[in-house]
Amino acid sequence: MTVDDVPRRARVRARYLLSDFLREQAGAGGVHVACGHGVCGACTVAVDGIAVRACLMLAVQADGAHVQTVASLSALEGAPASGRDGLTPLQAAFREHHALQCGYCTPGLLVSTALFMSQHKAAAALPGNPSPRRAAILDHLNGHLCRCTGYANIIAAIESVLP
């Protein structure tokens, strides 16, 4: 597979989780395991462009896939990182709105949100009645737990970058 555009090859046990492979063998320290049973969303990565809970996938299942973590956020967002700190628009919005405190849920949330934003923009471009923006954001955030922020700033950060 490729992980953040770097090819990785390994022989692994069948039960080796994708989350562990990414952390331990692909140097993706930004993939955080918080619950290990697919509820909290902290381990979210993109596999062939789809948001996936890495703790619910076997590494072997990603054989041949293009996996992207928070390190590839710029590509996932379709927007360049810029500024002195090299932040994407979404990351900059999170910082500006103080949408993170301990940071443990943040990388998975950023990956998931970047993909949600693309989908939302695509859906908004279609004729018909896309769901109201805030309702769509809350539905998206149902898949993510944060214990520090109380969510209001996360919602505000996402609203600020979603047209």
């Binding site: 331990e24 954001i137 993510h144 520090c148 109380g150």
Partner: protein, 770 residues
């Protein structure tokens, strides 16, 4: 940088070649351990070692408890269960393997045989005369008690116009930071010292305890807290696993790591909140509360954690912002066959706040007074400060409120939530949805716990480095401290690097708890800053061959008065000093110590608007207003973040979260499907305001802000629920979680009564037809 996923948390420190430690935990709530049999795995080459109690060095002690009284029974926690296990989840043995998968496989194959003993699963059972005893040698399951009295409560109750009595049960909850716990023990390559990393709020305390328990001298021990993914008090404890990784390193000679998984965290990490209270209040005919008394039984689990008795000690502060001249409290800690209890955000304040604020609403109803008005009649007034409450709190001495303006908090919050117009808003509500508004007040002790050191030094590139004892757990103290120091010294905040969590840098700091970080750390940083400026002026004077009195510090530059020389920046100071053979970075390396001051008291007034769907029982918190006073604010954005995070945590405890046990004492809560945390969709719309009544107790005038959000939320929400249901419906004494099922039970019982008696509902409409 956390936004790019580069935060180095404990799990990021694991290296190939480290042994993985897996804990074998008790599957019985109370039992004699007949045998532990490692033979199924002893010959397995994947097994790198095992430990049980018999393998521990003789005389290795028990874990520390810091809030005991002289007469507290020594219900101390062992590192590994020895002969008896007293809670399901208690560490019994450990297995080391090459990786976590194998370690889990091996652990499953170890045989542990139990002989069950009768269990004590609640304080009422535990305090009966024939109760099974967790520690027969104590003769009782009550291991600690405190009592306090102010004035003459008996006389006040005798003279009362009205007496209100209420019982409250607070459920067992957990802090549940998103990052579970973990620890690593290894040898430091160059020095041969032992290096222990732990996801902890208190690395300095851990180092002292590791030395005490393992016999390793302090000089050979370095403890570090890496980036920590949340703590909320559950990482403010000393745990068996932290000691075991070092013991395993000593015994088996290889670096060891332990990572807690989410399933084990529900019983392996301390619990919080569980208390049962009976409260009585005396009112005069004007709605003034003349006396209040509280009797609290705290369910502290099977053994002491670091601060098991502290939450129930908060009953001493039950009166909150209210004058209430006569008072009596008693708190008793009862051991039960559950995970040990420790502080959890608010440390007892959420419970006393809810009790006091429910009493105030009930008092309002009994007196025929508006709920805001009865509070006004009882609040301490600004001119009364400082207010000696006549009670004390363990480790902090006398409770003296330093400053505050509670009437201003109330007025602000009433306005923010739309209190005056609420009747109209309620009337516009939908047929089968009731709206309710609830108020609460929090007066919370902050910044206790000991003197705070700080070290400030100049790097060779002219940047400032602050070495702080305030462990970062997500509350942004790195930013806050940099900002405070920046304001104090007049240098740009982004030229200041704040580091914390390493006992090499700050060997004797208390750690992060009690919302002390910004206040204590900030004051210590400013003191260090002052010392730094003094040294900088001396050095500049030497360079300029003049006297320090002629050198001024202004905005990070050293200016020679009356001279046409360029001011010295810190960078040029380094290079010019170097040219003269003076090492600026050695000279400009100062330590300061902000001595322990009396605790300061932050305060807040909360208001919640909730909706109750009568058909489904679903409660939503719609709007939430907080006016908060933490003295002088360094960073409003961070303070607001703490408040909102705390409120949502309190909301979770009120509506969704609960730990459940089976009849035989086994935890039923094993995952986030069982333990339901709040999500974005459940967060209210926030209206946040601030008042600053500076604390006279420290030069910066600051108070802590980490917990008053959490402490007031349950009270405001429960009061709002009671308001939505109407005065004809009594809330049960249980205080949560208010699940849809609980609400439907309340409504169904009330409908039954109403149908039987033909009453109209509280708001003048017929009962909704649903």
């Amino acid at each position: 940088m956390l936004l790019t996923g580069q935060g180095a948390y404990l799990a990021n420190l694991i290296r190939p070649g480290m042994a993985c430690m897996r804990v074998i935990r008790s599957t019985a709530a109370h039992a004699r351990i007949k045998r532990i049999d490692f033979t199924p795995i002893a010959a397995d080459p994947a097994c790198l070692g095992t430990l049980c109690a018999a393998d521990l060095p003789t005389g290795v002690g028990t874990l520390p408890a810091m809030d005991l009284a002289a007469d507290s029974a020594p219900a101390r926690q062992r590192i590994l269960a020895d002969g008896t296990t007293r809670f399901a989840g208690e560490p019994i043995a450990v297995v080391l393997a090459t990786d976590a998968y194998i370690a889990e496989d091996l652990a499953e194959r170890v045989i542990v045989e139990y002989e069950p003993l009768p269990t004590v699963m609640d304080v009422h059972t535990g305090t009966q005369s024939n109760a099974p005893l967790l520690y027969p040698e104590f003769g009782s399951n009550i291991v600690h008690q405190t009592a306090q009295r102010v004035g003459d409560p008996d006389a006040a109750f005798a003279a009362a116009n009205t007496i209100i009595e209420e019982e409250f049960s607070f459920r067992r909850l957990i802090a549940s930071p998103l990052e579970t716990r973990g620890a690593v023990a290894m040898l430091e390559p160059d020095t041969g010292r032992y290096l222990v990393y732990s996801s902890t709020q208190i690395p300095q305390v851990l180092r002292a305890e590791l030395a005490r328990l393992t016999g390793v001298s302090l000089g050979r021990l370095r403890v570090l807290a890496p980036r920590v993914g949340g703590g909320f008090g559950c990482k403010e404890a000393i745990y068996p696993e932290e000691i075991l990784v070092l013991l395993a390193l000593q015994k088996f000679g290889r670096a060891v790591y332990w990572l807690e998984d989410r399933a084990e965290s529900f019983s392996a990490t301390v619990h919080g909140r569980e208390e049962h209270m009976r409260v009585r209040a005396a009112l005069d005919r004007d709605g003034v509360v003349t006396a209040v008394e509280v009797d609290c039984l705290a369910d502290i689990g099977a053994a002491y954690s670091l601060f098991s008795n502290t939450p129930s000690a908060a009953v001493a502060t039950l009166r909150g912002p209210y004058r209430i001249p006569h008072f009596r409290s008693r708190a008793r800690s009862v051991v039960t066959n559950k995970t040990p209890l420790n502080v959890y955000r608010g440390a007892g304040y959420p419970q006393v706040t809810l009790a006091m604020e429910r009493i105030m609403d009930l008092a309002a109803a009994a007196s025929g007074l508006d709920r805001a008005e009865i509070r006004r009649r009882n609040l301490l007034q600004p001119e009364e400060f400082p207010v000696d409450r006549g009670v004390s709190y363990p480790g902090c001495g006398a409770i003296v409120y330093d400053s505050g303006n509670y009437t201003a908090l109330l007025a602000s919050t009433l306005e923010a939530i739309g209190y005056d117009g609420f009747g109209a808003r309620r009337a516009q509500g939908k047929e089968d949805v009731s709206l309710g508004l609830g108020l609460s007040f929090v007066v919370e002790m902050t910044s206790g716990g000991g003197a705070e050191p700080a070290r400030l030094r100049l790097s060779s590139n002219g940047r400032l480095q602050l070495l702080s004892g305030v462990t970062a757990i997500g509350q942004g103290t790195e930013t806050t401290l940099a900002q405070i120091l920046s304001d104090h010294l007049g240098v740009a905040a982004d030229t200041i690097d704040v580091v914390a969590g390493d006992t090499d840098d700050s060997p004797d700091a208390p750690g992060t708890f009690a919302s002390r970080g910004a206040t204590m750390g900030g004051n210590a940083a400013c003191q260090a800053g002052d010392a730094f400026v003094l040294e900088a002026r001396k050095l500049a004077a030497e360079i300029r061959e003049t006297r320090p009195e002629h050198i001024e510090w202004k905005d990070g530059m050293l200016i020679e008065r009356g001279s046409s020389h360029q001011p010295l920046t810190l960078s040029t100071l380094v290079s010019q000093a170097g040219a003269l053979g003076l090492a600026a970075t050695e000279r400009l390396d100062v330590t300061a110590r902000f001595e322990d001051t009396p605790v300061s008291f932050a305060s807040a007034c909360h208001a919640a608007v909730v909706s109750i769907d009568h058909a489904t029982g679903v409660i939503r918190v719609l709007d939430y207003a907080v006016t908060h006073d933490c003295g002088r604010i360094a960073n409003p954005l961070l303070v607001d973040g703490q408040i909102m995070g705390g409120v949502v945590q309190g909301l979770g405890g009120c509506l969704f979260e609960a730990l459940e046990y089976s009849d035989t004492g086994l935890p039923l809560t094993q995952s986030y499907m069982d333990y339901i945390l709040p999500t974005a969709a459940t967060a209210p719309r926030f209206i946040l305001r601030h008042i600053e009544t500076p604390s006279p107790l420290n030069p910066l005038g600051m108070k802590g802000a980490g917990e008053a959000g959490c402490s007031g939320a349950g009270a405001a929400i429960v009061n709002a629920i009671a308001d939505a249901l109407g005065p004809a419906i009594a809330l049960p004494g249980g205080t949560g979680p208010f699940t849809p099922g609980v609400v439907r039970d309340i409504l169904r019982n009330a409908e039954g009564l109403r149908n039987a008696e033909g009453l109209r509902d509280a708001h003048g409409k017929d009962a909704p037809a649903c």
